[in-house]
């Protein structure tokens, strides 16, 4: 299907039902993997997953519309500002474990559809633990200082020199899907480096692959179909199946997308310049 047909399919979807569209975008935004506790029978999106980082352990908040422990009291602007500016409704700075550095590019329409979906969920009263952070990060002032130096709020602007499929892919990869949060290396203070976009990284014990078009270090020998298929069922082009943290991403995000959106992601990734992986 061409880009035009893809856009038509998406807008048909949009006209239908904002909650349904929001559900789709919640998958595309990868919200579920982090905001669902890593235990059997966890309630999706009710928060509580521990995320270990070099800066300490973060516990993801409850995204169900409970008035007290969730986001039930948030206005539309509260919600959008969290993504665009990285601030909470009471004006506190978020730590970039919440990937607003990527989400800042998301459109207001898409964010409000996500909000509509989240507000359609059953409210779950569930307080989550306080973050357990290194001393130098253990205040919101640290988060504010980090932001002042390293964060530039900006919406996604389509590149008119590229086709719609590429632009859709760029939006999904860079912003909503926040792929770079894991696949782009960070410097010592946790800032993603634009000139090494998608060149791979290390996350705890796990080596996050280089997904640029480098033929040796990256996925330059994969076809667009290989990328699309991997994002759908997790098969590598040689027939092997990944068993990494990407399995969660495939399950809760990319396999739930339309084939056209996965092909859009592939189109964007195929356009990245080949980059060598950083030395460990």
């Amino acid at each position: 299907m061409g880009a035009a047909a893809m856009m038509a399919a998406l807008s048909a979807f949009a006209a239908d039902d904002i909650v349904e569209r929001g559900r789709y975008l919640t998958y595309a935004g990868g919200c579920i993997s982090c905001h669902t506790e890593d235990v059997e029978d966890a309630i999706p999106l009710a928060g509580g997953r521990a995320m270990e980082t070099p800066f300490g352990t973060f516990y993801s908040p409850n995204l169900t519309p409970d008035m007290k422990s969730g986001i039930g009291g948030w206005s539309d602007d509260d919600f959008v500002d969290a993504f665009w500016e990285g601030v909470s409704p009471d004006g506190k700075h978020y730590f970039p474990a919440f990937p607003y550095t990527s989400y800042t590019g998301a459109s207001r329409d898409d964010l409000l559809a996500i909000k509509a979906y989240l507000f359609s969920l059953e409210p779950v009263p569930k307080e989550t633990a306080d973050h357990d952070l290194a001393w130098y990060m253990s205040s919101r002032i640290a988060a504010g200082a980090w932001k002042a130096v390293n964060f530039e709020p900006a919406r996604f602007e389509p590149d008119p020199s590229q086709d719609e499929q590429w632009n859709r892919g760029a939006y999904l990869v860079r912003h909503l899907g926040h792929c770079g949060e894991c696949h782009t290396p960070r410097n010592a203070i946790g800032v993603s480096q634009a000139d090494t976009e998608m060149a791979g990284s290390t996350f705890g014990e796990e080596k996050i692959p280089n997904i640029t078009t480098h033929r040796i270090d990256g996925i330059g020998r994969w076809s667009a179909s290989d990328i699309e298929y991997f994002l759908d069922i997790g098969m590598l082009p040689d027939g092997d199946f990944t068993g990494s943290s990407m399995v969660d991403v495939i399950e809760d995000n990319t396999s739930k997308l339309t084939r056209d959106d996965r092909l859009a992601i592939a189109s964007y990734l195929k356009s990245l310049p080949p980059r060598e992986s950083a030395e460990d």
Binding site: I233, G234, M235, G239, G243, S244, S245, V247
Partner: protein
Amino acid sequence: MQRKFFSAIAALTISSTLSLYAFADTTPEDAADYRSAVMTSLRGHIGAASMIARGLVENDGHLLGHAQGLANGANELSRVFPKGSNVGESEALPLIWEEPEAFAEAIANLQEATAAFVTAAESGDEEAIGAAFRNVGMSCRGCHDRFRVQQ
């Protein structure tokens, strides 16, 4: 019923030691290498089958051979994880031998999925082939995610 039977046999095999191979002087390293070779054959069949399932290569009947290869390999998996074979280049996690029943269940899943894929390949029905292949893939992925060293 049949599946319960298979997974019981598989659980027994997995928790038994290398004695299964002893008559052939199989070393633990040999057992691990053999397992790896069986896995490689599965990988080859699935890589080829996926290209047909994706419509990148036409199915003129040869999909069935790959489906049968997968089913045969899946049946063999029950006997390629003898206790003590987690040596050398093995990417197996100890959980396989700590929870032999859960692992046997995972293998039974794959055997079921590959058998259904053979049936779909015989039918030639594209939609059935796509769906059945997907289930085979899910089964591979589920097992690697839980029982193989993270890559």
